[in-house]
Amino acid sequence: MIGEAVAFYVLAAITLASGVVVATSPNLMHSAIALVPTLLGVTGIYILLNAEFVAGIQVLIYAGGITVLILFVIMLTEGGTGLRVRQRNEQVAIAAAVSAAVAALFIALAGRTPWAQGAGTLPSYTPGAIGQNFLGPNLLLFEGTSVVLLVTLVGAILIARKEAGE
């Protein structure tokens, strides 16, 4: 149990510390790279919550996929020019106030609500349980995802390529 607490606090510290870099670094490239430890910290949190399959997906899709996408786009658009440009807009103060208010609200809610303790135990083998679910009750979700992905692919290619000839 102590081990779990230590792991939680270490992971939370990693997640939040690199999250601060993502949110505030004046160097876009540093922001994007700090996204990796943030996502890995969240991966650790998933593992603590017994969701190992989701954790694997998180690394594969987020850290190995979306981050690469973001790094590519920064390299394609910014190059090194971002360092000389102001990165924050005029509403920093308002943004900070709103974010702090939202965080305070959420924390207050989380602390005050008497959360129900559910019955039952988690499935010990999550990939199997998820597979049973996807091909059973959630089949439509499963097939629907493939349609969403198809539309994404078509749309994104259309947008990104549209003016390639110009």
């Binding site: 949110a23 979306i66 509403q91 959420f106 135990t121 999550t126």
Partner: protein, 102 residues
Amino acid sequence: MITLTHYLVLSALLFALGLYAALSRRNAVAMLMGIELMLNAANINLVAFNKYAAPGAIQGQIFALIVITLAACEAAVGLALILAAYRRFETTYVDDLNLMKW
């Protein structure tokens, strides 16, 4: 002893960081990174509720999977839009992108 509340607090803080990034950044890519942080915060909640509030079901984890999928779609389309805007206006800073039509 780590309880559900711990995870919810962590998620609230991560969400606030993401919100701050999305609101205060000028660069569209950085705003998108803020949105990714918020989605991750939501995912922590989903998986935590799955463990503590409804351990008999696996729905929370499935929701988290769907959120990750949609995050990937959002990033792909969003970044494609940013690239298209960059090609047109030569900038990715949203306050310079204030014309709806050229």
